[in-house]
């Protein structure tokens, strides 16, 4: 039985100097067989396991993770959550996630620190203005909150932005989604892990998948560094390494894996109480609760699994940040890192069955998967449990690359890629 976190449990544990808190999840050895196995213990994978157990009564399942949970892109992103996408299919997908975010801390009994501080997207040229206005209208038709702001309104909402007309890429306006914001990325992984574990899901860390065993066109199990595990359903949620797993099963995916960088500054007092993103100059920034500026840079244009990225990418982002926020000119950067993102040709994800029975892929989230974590888990769990996609993820199937029915979201990406 899992103890509930509450003010009473806090007081009770304070009396024993916080030395007797219950483990948030167990550390089991793999069983011989499961009803389903999720490959990848990031936010999306753990959320998938959580909803499989919670909504589809699949409790004899496991999550296998080659490192530690939340140690991949879940712990490497810039924690931004929004749903202001252009196309209907994307709006449905991302707003489904945003609605779950709004009640997630209560549902998981775990504070994911979801903060609806708003996300502002800036326009720097006339085409940006037209695109963002169009997107605002499209969002509102889909029931997603969006407003278009003039330069003066941008300045009023975030006073530290340099809205002077004589900068290289002046701010001509922007959009604002007030329901958007940020969440604590580690807490999302930990909260879902704790919730899934409480319903009987085995979370197996330090267990790398080495092969997918097939019998003809069906999955029979997975080879791992902890031995063979039998199962009829495998859901792969391996982000940048999706193609590596696909190759094991003899599949090819429309993905390229590239390093995406982010960096944080030294912590300072509150200075920016929202998230500001700019696609045209490729700069986005928010401030963590610790006070660090959280800055997202871009992807390199070559395939790499090195989790590093090139210096000039960071330099370009910081140039743009400094022109937009001259007040940051003497900030020092504390840390820089890269994560490997799997990008689809249409910049939309894949949540899909495959040509192999019992093998499912949830991948292609590219540079913006964190925001979708709860929705992605919920819809992927539905797809695995029913062997059919939910209507909200039906458009995000693998077959769209054959039929040509792409969901081209390059325009609604926060930054160009």
């Amino acid at each position: 039985m899992r103890n509930k976190y509450s003010v009473f449990s806090l007081i009770k544990n304070a009396l024993s100097y916080h030395e007797n808190w219950q483990r948030a999840w167990k550390d089991p050895a793999p069983k011989k067989e499961y009803d389903a196995i999720i490959v990848g213990g990031g936010g999306h994978g753990l959320a998938t396991a959580y909803y499989l157990a919670k909504k589809h009564n699949m409790n004899n399942i496991a999550v296998v993770e080659k490192g530690w949970i939340g140690g991949g892109n879940t712990g490497r992103n810039t924690t931004i959550i929004r749903s202001n996408y252009l196309w209907d299919a994307s709006a449905g997908l991302y707003d489904h996630a945003l609605k779950i975010w709004e009640g997630l801390s209560q549902e998981l009994n775990y504070n994911v620190m979801f903060s609806q501080r708003g996300v502002m997207n800036l326009a720097h040229n006339l085409q940006d203005v037209r695109d963002l206005k169009r997107r605002t209208h499209a969002n509102r038709l889909n029931g997603i909150d969006a407003v278009y702001l003039s330069t003066e309104e941008v300045k009023k909402f975030c006073p530290i932005i340099n809205t002077s007309p004589d900068i290289r890429y002046p701010v001509l306006g922007g959009t604002l989604q007030r329901r958007a914001g940020t969440a604590r990325h580690d807490a999302v992984a930990w909260g879902y892990a704790r919730g899934a574990d409480a319903m009987g899901v085995d979370i197996i860390q330090n267990c790398e998948v080495k092969g997918i065993k097939r019998n003809g066109d069906s999955v029979e199990g997975i080879e791992t560094t902890k031995g063979f595990i039998k199962t009829k359903k495998v859901g792969v949620v391996a982000a940048g390494h999706s193609s590596v797993i696909a190759n094991m099963a003899g599949l090819r995916l429309p993905l390229e894996s590239k390093p995406l960088q982010a960096l944080v500054s030294e912590p300072v007092k509150p200075i920016i109480d929202t998230v500001v993103m700019s696609n045209a100059v490729h700069a986005y920034v928010s401030q963590s609760d610790k006070g660090e500026l959280v800055i997202g840079a871009g992807t390199d244009d070559y395939v790499s699994y090195t989790q590093k990225g090139s210096h000039q990418i960071v330099e370009g982002t910081l140039n743009a940040i400094l022109e937009l926020y001259p007040i940051f000119s003497r900030m020092r950067m504390l840390r820089q890192w890269g994560g490997i993102v799997d990008i689809c040709p249409d910049a939309s994800p894949i949540l899909s069955k495959t040509s192999i029975k019992g093998l499912y892929f949830n991948c292609g989230w590219g540079t913006g998967g964190f925001k979708a974590t709860p929705g992605s888990g919920d819809l992927f769990a539905h797809t695995i449990a029913n062997d059919e996609p939910h209507k909200l993820n039906a458009a995000f199937n693998l077959n769209r690359f054959v039929s040509g029915d792409l969901v081209d979201e390059h325009g609604a990406a926060a930054v160009a890629h």
Partner: protein, 91 residues
């Protein structure tokens, strides 16, 4: 970030180059004969290898010529560089 030995200009900073993706994807000889599956395979499906991969690169801010590269994507180590039309080295 690494140095690339352009077969025409010599060693230059990677910033001068543009990555052109997977190499040796042959353009269909008879496009009208192709099925939708074959088009998808040609246009979109990629090996995306973690390890030694064959790629095309372009010296965009230099001689602007295309060439091929063999590179280990797990550590960005360049194994070989050869001109377009040349036979790829055995790996």
């Amino acid at each position: 970030m690494f140095l690339i030995n352009c077969p025409y200009c010599g060693e230059r900073d990677q910033q001068e180059f543009k990555a052109g993706g997977e190499a040796h994807i042959e353009r269909p000889k008879q496009p009208t004969e192709l099925s939708d599956d074959e088009w998808a395979e040609y246009l979109f499906m990629r090996k995306n290898i973690k390890g030694v991969q064959f790629e095309r690169w372009n010296h965009a801010h230099g001689c602007r010529k295309w060439f091929n590269m063999v590179r280990d994507t797990s550590n960005d180590e360049i194994k070989a560089i050869y001109k377009m039309g040349e036979k790829p080295p055995a790996q």
